[in-house]
Every structure is written in C-alpha cells, then in structure tokens.
C-alpha cells in the first residue's frame, strides 16, 4: 500500500523532474523515497512475519491467553521500530506535497491520513490473533449490510415505499437481522456444548405413533422432491443410491461384514458336539469340517448353518441308522 502510494507519487515527480530544473529538493525527495521504499518493504515483511506468528500462536492455544502474553511483546517491539519511522514518513510526505503543484497542505494532510490508516490496520493485525480477526470480520459483515440498507432506506424515503401495514418494515427487518446475527456470532462459541439437547427426545416421541397420514405425507414429499436427473452425473448418483451402480473405486468386500477372526473359520470342531464320537458319521463330518475350514467364500454363519443342517438330517435318520 505504501509502495503503491510511493510509486504513484514517484511517477508525477519523474514527469516534473524533466520540467523543473531544481535538483537539490528532488535529490532529497529521491533519497527519502528510496529510503522509504526499502524501509517500508522491510517493515512490511516484519509485520507479516509477526502477524503470521501471532496467528499461529492464536490457533495453537484456543482462547489465546498465551498469545495475548506473547503478542504485546511483539507489538511493543514493532511500535518501537515504527515510531522512529513516522517522522521520516512525515518528512517524506511533506516533501512530496511540496513538489506537487496542487494545494500542498491538502495533499500533505491526505498523505498523512493515508499513512495513519495504514498504521492503524497494521497495528490491528499485529495485536489481533484469530479472535480480533473474527470480531473484525463480524463487524465488517454487519457494516457491509448497512450501506446497502442505508441506500435502500434513502431510496425508500425518496420513493415513499410503504408495506402492507403502512409502515416501513425494511429497516426493522435489517436491524433485527443485524441484531440476530450479532447475537448469533456472539453466542457461536458458547453454543458448542448446548447442541442436540432436546431433538432426540422429540424424535423418540414421534416414532412411536406414526399415523397413516404421516406416512402418506412423507410419501408425497419424497415423490415431489425426487426430481428427474438433469444430467448423466445425477442419473449415476441416483443409480448408486438405489444400488444399481456400484461405488467406485470398487470395494471387493461390499456387503461382506465378516467380523469373525480366522480361528473361528478354521477350528470348527466345537460345532461337532452333537454327533457320535465314533463311526462313519463322525468320519464324514470331520471331512466336511476340513472342507469348510479351507473355504474362504463362506461366512462363519453359513458354515455353522451347514453343520447344523447335517445335524438335523442325521437326527431325522436316527431310526434308519439304528437298524443298520
């Protein structure tokens, strides 16, 4: 910002150098401006570094109690560095103003006002961590509304726009909005812990008695909101939701929620307790278990069902087996 001002000031000066013949004030100007540029850039870098450090500190420590302790040290250093620069800047501003042919006092005052504004913003950036920035932003949004609203108010006053009730509800609405937004932003941090307090109770109450009319209403809403897809992407999204299209990248274990460990798959002898310990049936079932333990495609449930089916089958045929 100072660089741009300096550059803007330097271009009319270069044009005047050609016109005028006096060299000493211009040499002084050039020296001052040259020095100013170097100092301003260094100062800007310092400020940026300090601002980034302060921001990092504020982000690391939540409420910034520590940052407040560390940042004022930085601000004091910067103010110490800033203060000796200011008289030089004033000198440079006066020299620049003297070189311009227009009202010298006005230009001087304008340049000094600009410098003061820059210093104020940089000081704010130095002092504030994330907290002050948030406040600034919140203030900014509130203030941004007001000029538009002011213009609206002006236009409404000029055009005498009256609402249905005969009053001008717009400014009230705006003030209500700004108040609500202010209160919301003030209360933002506090509302972290008060979320989701009463909602689950209400839902529990309503689920117990769903009337037919509620179901019909829900169906109607779903039918209305389900708009036809506008393009191929939305069609594909719909298909994925329905289950027609797989999800990419393809997950080979979709639908396979096998939470069992490997030993439950392999050591299936504990399920053989219902069978006789000797005889061809036991031999047969041991072979079945051997085959199941080597099967990676079935879940533990399916294997257990397999064995249980055989158990049932052989129990039904017990009479037959006893004849043999």
């Amino acid at each position: 910002k100072d660089k741009s001002a300096a550059s803007k000031d330097s271009t009319p000066e270069t044009s005047k150098r050609q016109e005028d013949g006096a060299e000493t004030p211009k040499q002084q100007l050039l020296d001052i401006i040259g020095n100013m540029k170097v100092e301003v850039s260094y100062r800007k870098k310092l400020q940026q570094l300090k601002a980034s450090e302060s921001k990092k500190q504020a982000l690391n420590k939540l409420e910034g109690l520590d940052s407040e302790g560390s940042v004022p040290q930085g601000t004091t250093e910067d103010t110490q560095r800033g203060k000796p620069l200011n008289p030089e800047l004033v000198k440079a501003a006066s020299a620049v103003a003297s070189s311009l042919p227009l009202n010298k006092k006005q230009t001087e005052s304008e340049l000094l006002a600009q410098l003061r504004r820059h210093e104020e913003t940089t000081d704010k950036q130095k002092k504030g961590g994330a907290i002050n920035i948030r406040n600034v932003i919140s203030e900014m949004t509130v203030k941004r509304q007001t000029p538009a609203q002011r213009s609206a108010r002006l236009s409404s006053r000029i055009s005498l726009q009256l609402d249905e009730d005969g009053r001008r509800i717009r400014p009230e609405r705006a003030s209500a909005q700004s108040d609500s937004r202010r209160s919301l932003k003030v209360g933002k941090r506090l509302n972290i812990f008060t979320k989701a307090s009463t909602e689950p109770e209400d839902t529990l109450k309503t689920v117990s008695s769903p009337t037919i009319w509620d179901l019909e209403f829900a169906k109607e809403v779903a039918a209305v909101t389900a708009q036809p897809p506008r393009n191929g992407f939305e069609e594909m999204i719909q298909w994925t939701k329905e289950g027609i299209l797989w999800e990419f990248p393809i997950d080979n274990e979709v639908g396979m929620e096998d939470d069992a460990e490997f030993h439950e798959h392999i050591f299936l002898e504990k399920h053989l307790e219902g069978f006789p310990k000797e005889g061809p049936i036991r031999h047969f079932m041991e072979l079945v278990i051997c085959g199941l333990s080597k099967n990676p495609y079935l879940s533990v449930k399916q294997k257990v069902e397999h064995i249980e089916w055989f158990q049932k089958y052989f129990e039904e045929k017990k009479e037959l087996l006893q004849e043999i």
Binding site: A223, I281, V288, H306, W309, I324
Partner: protein, 128 residues
C-alpha cells in the same frame, strides 16, 4: 379358452407388484422360454444349498449305502426346476439358445451387430 387366453395375455406383461417401490416396474422378457429359464434359475438358487448337501451324502464312500439310497430318493423329490442342469445360457437380448458367448451373454448375431457398430468395448475385428 378365452379366459385362458386372457390370463396368458396378462402374464405376458409380467407386472411386478408395487410393494415398496414408488413407480411401476414392468419388465418384458423376450419370450416365454426366457421367462421359464428365469424361473429355473431362481429355483436353482433357492435349492442350491440343499442339493449340495444331499449330494455330499450321496457321493460318499464312507456312509452306509442305505443312507445314500434315502438321500437319492430325497433329491429326486425336489422340484424338477431346482436342478442347475436345466438352466440354459440363452442370449440376453434375443433369447437364442445356441451360439451364445458366455462372456457377453449375447448370441453371435447380436454380438457381431454391436461389434460392427463399435458398441462393444475393447472388441475389434481380427486381422493378422
């Protein structure tokens, strides 16, 4: 006769009852043979486990023969359409029973048609 013809005409539409889906689903199979094949596939899927287990008892050298004969009778008692051998891999689009390539489930004529119109991904005319 007329009533039977009407019933046949209704079944040809093969409407799926709108149980839970919001819109009507009406699927037409190419012909009746395809429909029967679909039914056989469903039955085979349902009885697959039982058939596997009863066959495991039958094709056995350990268990006694009487048990295996009982198992033979049981598997014969199952519905005929539950046998996987009755499934015919027909063409999906024309229901042609012969000349069907398994990878694409299409008959050779349909396959050639689509391949020539460049609608088969990765299929090219052979030339060497």
């Amino acid at each position: 006769m007329a009533a039977a013809a009407l019933c046949w005409a209704l079944r040809a539409a093969r409407q799926v009852l709108p149980s839970a889906c919001p819109r009507q689903v009406r699927s037409y199979y190419v012909d009746w043979r395809m429909l029967r094949d679909v039914k056989r596939r469903k039955m085979a899927y349902e009885h697959a486990d039982e058939r596997l287990r009863i066959n495991a008892i039958r094709k056995n050298s350990i268990l006694p023969r009487e048990l295996q004969e009982v198992a033979d009778k049981e598997i014969a008692a199952l519905p005929r359409d539950s046998c996987p051998g009755r499934i015919r891999n027909r063409c999906v689009l024309t229901s042609r029973p012969r000349g069907v390539k398994r990878r694409w489930r299409l008959s050779r004529i349909v396959f050639r048609h689509f391949a020539d119109h460049a609608q088969m991904s990765g299929v090219q005319r052979a030339m060497w």
